[in-house]
């Protein structure tokens, strides 16, 4: 079989002569290839493209491996870190940093509106370990990371562009943060987002003093990043670090018992986090959409080929071999696949800005999402796969020798073509059921997640965040007086019903890991650690968030003493410690102080909506002051009408204090489910597309079948067939294929359902109700898609049908 451009031109001309067919085929291919290429663009950027660091495969994160809790990352004390670093010969470099999303912030003034910036506290080795240089100025090193020399700051590219207009002269200028002056020494490259895209500035770690975080061996707050020596595996590095940690456990049993084993994982795992599973699930889902689209076009090609039997017979009579006929038909498929692939790439390119905007804040590296040569290669590969499916089977079938075989076998060639069409239809139905199962399950999961009772009410609550640190806020009395004055001012705003606050907002993570010694009958009997930790809150906190007080009372302005610390416990903690007794009035010891339970509050989901409420306890923020302050204001009506007044109340007290995240608390809850919502939306979109494409496939196959069987239907009607039996005959043919496909799709889904398990909340991936619903949805839609052309079959005029023969 030889190929020349004349034949290619003929194939293109043949396609141009049937614009309807060509338009539908190209649109379907562009949709299938475009959707899968667009999602691959995200996968390539987030999972496959190398991190923007020097030799990123060598970079690792070092953590603990505890028998009781598995790997724990992000937990070294400065002392442990230095000891481990000194003994880690398998790592050419090991550095540390401190960053807590939402809490690691600094108040920046002097650039117009006061700003609360996300600051990463990094040691002087971090940039060297990562192998990244500044694009303007320089990064800081060990010489900068010492008291007296550490008033320097490195800016992110985004912060530099937004607040300095990308002015190179920004380097060398100074800014005020928390009342201190810092010199800007550098600006990082645009793709540098370490440890997350939220980071806006990097400051020397030595700025974190003992006052900020106790520098004790048992207080573990440093994250690590290291670079493996040449030829060393993470497991070998872990073995060596474990040796050092075992020595520390022996030398410091008070603080290090049970902290004697290390875990080392690639840095990419940390930065990419838990998006790998959902992204791969999405890739699989869009791959199925692609396959359905391609099978649809294969249907069209098959019908086109069978409709050209006369042309092909003439070509055969003129001497064309079967190979030649196949080649002739394949050329058209090749032209379609090539143009479809190019259009698919165009669709992906057009979708990229949309994907970037919806992925921002929910996926790491979202700002880097872009078409690159690998993505273009993927689109070409998708085109090749489309060509193989769209071209080969229909071409082989259509170019089959006609008269001889059909006479010998006693059956028409169209019967075989019909069987192939039914097979393709079954495949489409199976693929669609596969996706519909995922769609129903994720929708069910999202519904359950968004209807979970978090233990508090966010309706009619405005929230905001302040960071009371630096300057006069370093004085406990001043910061407490500020909080009290703010509560009083906000409470005076007409319509405000309750005001309170705390170090952390609900659904944003755990509290501080304090241990409590339980006092029974005057003596300490046991020690417990509340599972969610301890939370520092102000008076009004429970009222503002509508957290019910089940017994006793909440904090008041009078709860300021450390002699006997007042404490509120959650219902789960009360049930755990005093299952048969009233918790109010019971005693604990915290550190060296006595504490008394003054109230029992309802359980609250603190970590996230997915995580169940666990035991926790509350302490008065006035007694345990913290710089981070999340305020909650319960109002009459919509919180949006109160935001300006709340901001003004802060301004009146301190015009230089930035107010962050001011808005309805419901928005925070929304953002806490943004990723599952995005995942569900995409899966549902793919599921709907799959259903639509499969329905079109059914419609097309049945409509073609009706056209092909017009004479047969006419004969049957002449022989006495009723309209209902004609409809039943036509529909049942299609439904047989759809049922077989749906069954196969269900079996396939059950085989792969475990990949979805981690993305589901309170829904089993094998939930029979959901799977039945998915299969019923497909079969119902397929029935409708078959019924429409079948109705036309029943209205065929038998006289006309037979006369036209």
């Amino acid at each position: 079989m030889s190929l020349n451009w004349r034949e290619v031109r003929q194939a293109a001309r043949a396609l141009a002569r049937t614009p309807g067919f060509t338009l539908v085929a190209l649109s379907t291919l562009a949709l299938g290839i475009g959707a899968s290429t667009a999602i691959f663009t995200v996968v390539q950027t987030v999972l496959l493209r190398e991190l923007p660091f020097d030799h990123p495969a060598e970079l690792v994160q070092v953590g603990h491996l505890r028998a009781s809790r598995g790997p724990v990352f992000g937990g070294f004390s400065p002392q442990d870190f230095e000891d481990v670093r000194a003994a880690s010969g398998t790592l050419t470099s090991l550095s540390s940093y401190f960053y807590t999303p939402g809490l690691g912030t600094r108040n920046l003034t002097g650039l117009g509106e006061p700003l609360n910036v996300a600051a990463v506290m990094a040691d002087g080795r971090l940039f060297g370990t990562l192998g990244v240089s500044a694009v303007q100025g320089r990064t800081f090193d060990a010489a900068d990371d010492v008291p007296g020399a550490n008033q320097v700051v490195v800016l992110s590219d985004g912060f530099w562009r937004t607040h300095f207009g990308a002015d190179p002269a920004a380097v060398g200028r100074t800014v005020q943060m928390d009342g201190q002056t810092f010199r800007i020494i550098g600006v990082m490259p645009p793709d540098f987002a370490f440890p997350s895209a939220e980071a806006q500035v990097w400051l020397p770690l030595s700025l974190v003093t003992d006052n900020d975080v106790p520098h004790l061996r048992q207080v573990r707050w440093l994250d690590t990043v290291g670079r493996l020596a040449a030829g060393v595996t993470p497991e070998e590095a872990a073995a060596q670090v474990s040796g050092a940690m075992a020595r520390l456990a022996r030398d410091f049993p008070e603080s290090n018992t049970d902290w004697d084993r290390a875990s080392v994982r690639p840095l990419a795992d940390q930065l990419i986090g838990n998006v790998r599973a959902p992204l791969m699930a999405l890739m699989a889902a869009v791959g199925v959409v692609f396959l359905i689209a391609v099978v649809n076009v294969a249907h069209l090609m098959l019908a086109r080929g069978l409709g050209r039997v006369r042309e092909l017979s003439i070509r055969a009579a003129l001497g064309a071999t079967r190979a030649r006929l196949v080649g002739h038909l394949l050329l058209e498929s090749a032209v379609l696949a090539t143009v479809g692939s190019a259009l698919g790439l165009l669709v992906a390119w057009l979708a990229t800005p949309l994907l970037t905007s919806i992925a921002a804040g929910t996926l790491p590296r979202a700002t880097e999402i872009a078409i690159d040569p690998v993505v273009a290669g993927y689109a070409v590969l998708a085109g090749v796969v489309a060509f193989l499916i769209v071209g080969i089977l229909p071409a082989l079938r259509s170019a089959e020798p006609t008269a001889d075989a059909s006479i010998r076998e006693g059956r028409g060639q169209t019967g075989a073509g019909h069987r192939l069409a039914s097979g393709l239809l079954a495949a489409e139905s199976g693929f669609a059921v596969l996706l519909l199962c995922g769609t129903v399950l994720t929708l069910s999961s999202l519904w359950k997640l968004t209807h979970v009772d978090p233990g508090f009410s966010a309706d009619q609550v405005a929230s905001f965040r302040l960071v009371l640190q630096g300057g006069r806020y370093e004085t406990r009395a001043y910061s407490e007086a500020f909080r009290r004055a703010l509560r009083e001012r906000v409470a005076q705003i007409p319509g405000v019903q309750a005001v309170g606050g705390g170090k952390r907002a609900p659904l944003t993570g755990g509290g501080e890991p304090y241990s409590l010694r339980v006092v029974r009958n005057g003596g300490v009997t046991d020690t417990i650690t509340p599972a969610a930790g301890m939370f520092m809150v102000t008076p009004g906190y429970f009222d503002a968030l509508s957290i019910p007080m089940l017994a006793g009372r909440e904090f008041t302005a009078a709860d300021t003493t450390r002699e006997i610390i007042p404490m509120v416990v959650s219902e789960a903690l009360a049930d755990q410690v005093w299952p048969e007794q009233d918790a109010v009035g019971q005693r604990f010891q915290i550190g060296g102080s006595d504490a008394v339970v003054i109230g029992v509050a309802g359980d609250v989901r603190q970590q996230s909506l997915q995580d169940p409420a666990v035991s926790m306890a509350y302490l008065p923020l006035g007694v345990f002051p913290r710089s981070a302050f999340n305020g909650f204001v319960r109002v009459a009506g919509s919180p949006l009408g109160y935001l300006a007044a709340i901001r003004a109340a802060v301004r009146e007290l301190d015009p230089d204090l930035p107010v962050s995240d001011l808005g309805p608390l419901t928005s925070q809850i929304e953002s806490s489910v943004a990723r599952p919502r995005l995942f569900t939306a995409l899966v549902a979109m793919f599921g709907t597309t799959a259903l639509l494409l499969a329905s079109l496939g059914v419609y097309g196959v049945v409509a073609q079948g009706v056209a092909r069987r017009r004479r047969e239907i006419g004969i049957r009607m002449v022989l006495g067939a009723r309209a209902a039996s004609v409809i039943r005959m036509v529909v049942s043919d299609a439904m047989r294929a759809a049922v077989v496909g749906a069954g196969a799709g269900l079996v396939a889904f059950l085989a792969v359902s475990r990949v979805l398990r981690s993305q589901l909340y309170q829904v089993q991936p094998t939930d029979p109700m959901a799977l039945t619903l998915a299969a019923a949805g497909l079969l119902g839609t397929a029935w409708l898609a078959a019924w429409l052309p079948a109705r036309r079959a029943a209205s065929i005029d038998p006289g006309d049908a037979l006369r036209s023969e």
Binding site: I407, G412, I715, V718, G720, L802
Partner: protein, 221 residues
């Protein structure tokens, strides 16, 4: 059995409709064997379609026994046709994907004849038409004459009182054609009323009466 009163059939054309049948009055008695003849375009097949109740888009009256076919709702008309009329076509119109036996079974299935009874009727018909040895063959494996034999057998298997045949020997050579016409004569003698359309004077002689059409008008009876 059949009475047509002022039947007219036209199709919309510009500037004025084209008439296929004009003011047709015709009676066919039960047990008759009537031949309709005329040149191409005279309206023979149109008349056959109306008689077979496939075409109801006409004016005038069509009485089938006591039934006013022209006034029947489609469902009732189809039911009457199913019970009363068998068709034989020039192109045989066998179902290609069904065997001879399966083709014979089709009309019985549409008349809700129980399965066991159907098997017996099909076996009896195969025997009666001497096709037992060919029951498992597909139409494409039969000669033209054999296919038309199957078509006739299928047309009468449900024992319709009226058999309509449109050029039944048109695709057959003379010997095959004679056999089919002998079969028609035998069926007529057994009580089936037959109306055939043909160009062949020889075939017309098998019938009792010739009705001639010209440009849609009845020109001789």
């Amino acid at each position: 059995m059949i009475r047509l009163v002022n039947v007219e059939k036209s199709v919309p054309t510009r500037p004025s409709p084209t008439f296929l049948l004009r003011q047709l009055n015709l009676q066919v008695q039960a047990g008759e064997f009537v031949t309709i003849m005329g040149p191409s375009g005279a309206g023979k097949s149109t008349l056959l379609a109306i008689l077979g109740m496939l075409d109801s888009e006409h004016t005038g009256e069509y009485w089938f026994g006591d039934h006013a076919v022209h006034a029947l709702a489609p469902k009732a008309r189809h039911a009457l046709a199913r019970a009363s009329v068998g068709f034989v076509f020039q192109q045989y119109h066998l179902l290609d994907d069904l065997t001879v036996a399966e083709n014979l079974d089709v009309p019985l299935g549409y008349r809700n004849v129980p399965s066991k009874e159907r098997q017996a009727i099909v076996a009896d018909t195969l025997d009666r038409f001497r096709m037992v040895g060919k029951k498992d063959l597909f139409p494409a494996q039969l000669s033209g004459g054999q296919q038309q034999l199957v078509a006739v057998a299928r047309a009468v298997i449900a024992k319709p009182p009226l058999l309509l045949a449109d050029e039944p020997t048109g695709n057959l050579h003379s010997e095959q054609g004679r056999k089919i016409m002998e079969l028609f004569r035998r069926l007529n003698e057994e009580g089936t009323t037959i109306v055939q359309v043909t160009h062949s004077e020889e075939n017309a002689r098998y019938g009792h009466r010739i009705v001639r059409l010209n440009d849609g008008w009845l020109s001789g009876d």
